[in-house]
Every structure is written in structure tokens, then in C-alpha cells.
């Protein structure tokens, strides 16, 4: 098992369906609980030229993510396993081998800040 997987598993219970909110649009799509990493409800993601700003009203927090971090956050839609996220990320940014430590570190932050729940 990859380090990213080990670090992220078992921290949170499965999450309910997500209504993903972005800066300009609200998706009405629902995703089923799959056991995959999933953004928590109620995040407002505002796109920036160099990443994004995420408002988390429930915790009165704001997060600034660079472009690779927001890419990973966006993959947390409940439809990708950690392994898939790792593979997509590595292939997209042409990283070989996959930067597991970097991925693990940012997912630890996601989990610690309760942006993503990883069953």
C-alpha cells in the first residue's frame, strides 16, 4: 500500500452526498457514498489564476491552495480511489515515480482541515 493511502485511511466516517459549490456555479449532482476520498459538504471553491481559495463556512476558515493542490482536491469527488487519484495526478503532471510523499502530505492537511473525508 502506498504511503498516501496508509496516511489517509481510517480518519473519517463515510460522508453523505455532496453538493459541490464553486465560485460561480452549484452542481446539483449527487455522488453515492463509495468509500473514496470526498470533499465535505459546503465548501465554496473560488478559482484563481494560480490555484483557488476555499471557503469553509462551517469552520470559519479560508484555505489557499496552489494549482496542484486544488487539482488533488477536485479529484476528491467520491468517484476516485486513492490509487486512481495518485495515478491521475502523476500522469497529468508527468511525475514518475508518483510523488507519494507530496500527495500524502497534502491529503493529511486536507483531512486535518476537514476538507476531505477519507473513509
Amino acid at each position: 500500500m502506498h504511503k498516501a493511502l496508509r496516511l489517509c485511511r481510517g480518519r473519517h466516517p463515510p460522508v453523505p452526498a455532496v453538493a459541490h459549490t464553486t465560485g460561480l456555479a452549484v452542481s446539483d449532482s449527487k455522488t453515492e457514498v463509495t468509500g473514496n476520498p470526498q470533499q465535505v459538504e459546503g465548501l465554496e471553491i473560488h478559482e484563481q489564476p494560480d490555484g483557488c481559495v476555499v471557503y469553509q463556512k462551517s469552520r470559519e476558515k479560508v484555505h489557499f491552495l496552489n494549482h496542484t493542490a486544488v487539482f488533488l482536491l477536485e479529484l476528491c469527488n467520491g468517484r476516485h480511489s486513492m490509487e486512481e487519484i495518485r495515478e491521475i495526478y502523476a500522469a497529468t503532471f508527468d511525475r514518475s515515480p508518483a510523488p507519494d510523499q507530496e500527495i500524502a502530505a497534502i491529503f493529511e492537511q486536507f483531512a486535518a482541515e476537514e476538507l476531505v473525508r477519507i473513509p
Partner: protein, 200 residues
């Protein structure tokens, strides 16, 4: 490249896919990083580090478009263009979903004379039910914000100094604000202005 990305991102919502493609293609690789702050600290910090330029935005003019208490409309003109991309262009009162005027604060004062220190003021701040209001920007990056709302007319105690004083913005050491986002992130731009509404 794009075709491969499309395949990789097939399980991503279509409305997010374009953004992710832009992210993937548009910038050199960097280690993923995230910086987190409490909203309060950002507000305070952002004001100190205003990204609008050497001086933070100020209200250049505050004027009443319609002064009737049941259809109050005020126009706020800033001295520089505001990035309103956090704030929807149009919106209705909601402290939860509408960050543009999350901290929007109104206060009306019963004015006895022309000396503000003699005023008796009541605030709409959380202690009272807020009258509904809406706001509108003229475009996405604008100088002018128009706020419309319903206000109680109130009355003056002695009848000699008619006026409802509406106060916007940050009072000393208190919250009361409109949020705007600058190029470097979130900026809180407190401002203060007063308009006097004639009472009928």
C-alpha cells in the same frame, strides 16, 4: 495532451473538468501546498496587506437614490475598481450564502441635532432581525455598489432633527464590513459612510 486529460478526468464533473484541465496545462509543476487561516485572521491580515494598491479602497461617495423607508436604495461609489468575484453580482440577504455582505452592518440613529455625539443609535447587527436587502454591482469589476432594502422609518424623540442615519462599514474595534477579494486573496475592505434619510 488534452485528449489524454479528458480520459483521465472522465469521472470528474464536466463543469469542473475545464478548470482542472486549465490547472494541469497552464502552470509548471509545483509541490501541492495549502495555507489555512481563520476567516478573522485573514480579514485582519488582508486589510493590512491590501492588494489593491498603495492605498486600500475608500468610499468616494455614498448617496441615497431612493430615501423612502420601505424602499431604501443607497449607492456606494468606491475610489477604485473592486474585484467582486467573491461576491455575486446580484444577491439577496443571506449571511450564510452571500459573503459579499456577510458582515454588512447597518445602524440607524435618531438625530436630535447636527451633533452626531447626541445621536441615539440602534443597530441591525445580530441582536435584531435584519430587514431584507439586496445588492447589485454594475458589472464584475466596478466602482459602484447599490444596496436596496427595507428600513423602519423610526422617529425622532423631539421631532426637531429628522433623519435616519445609516452607517456602513467597520466601526472602531468592531466587525462591520463588506468583503472583497483582491488579486492576492481575500481582502476585507472596511469603509464608513453616512447618509441621512429625511423622515416623513
Amino acid at each position: 495532451m488534452e485528449e489524454k486529460l479528458d480520459t483521465r478526468l472522465e469521472k470528474v464533473e464536466p463543469n469542473r473538468r475545464d478548470f482542472m484541465k486549465k490547472v494541469a496545462i497552464g502552470a509548471a509543476y509545483a509541490v501541492p501546498v495549502m495555507a489555512s487561516f481563520s476567516l478573522d485572521s485573514v480579514r485582519n491580515k488582508a486589510f493590512a496587506q491590501a492588494s489593491y494598491g498603495p492605498t486600500p479602497p475608500r468610499v468616494a461617495r455614498l448617496n441615497v437614490v431612493d430615501g423612502s423607508p420601505d424602499n431604501f436604495v443607497v449607492r456606494i461609489t468606491f475610489d477604485q475598481a473592486m474585484d467582486t468575484s467573491i461576491a455575486p453580482n446580484n444577491g439577496a440577504d443571506s449571511r450564510i450564502a452571500k459573503p459579499a455582505i456577510e458582515c454588512y452592518d447597518r445602524e440607524w440613529c435618531y438625530a436630535f441635532d447636527n451633533d452626531p455625539s447626541h445621536d441615539t443609535c440602534e443597530s441591525t447587527d445580530f441582536r435584531f432581525a435584519l430587514p431584507p436587502y439586496t445588492w447589485r454591482w454594475d458589472s464584475n469589476r466596478v466602482h459602484i455598489l447599490t444596496i436596496s432594502g427595507l428600513f423602519s422609518s423610526g422617529s425622532t424623540d423631539n421631532g426637531s432633527g429628522p433623519g435616519i442615519r445609516i452607517k456602513y462599514g467597520k466601526k472602531p474595534k468592531e466587525e462591520g464590513c463588506i468583503d472583497f477579494k483582491g488579486a492576492n486573496g481575500l481582502n476585507l475592505v472596511p469603509f464608513e459612510g453616512r447618509v441621512n434619510l429625511p423622515l416623513e
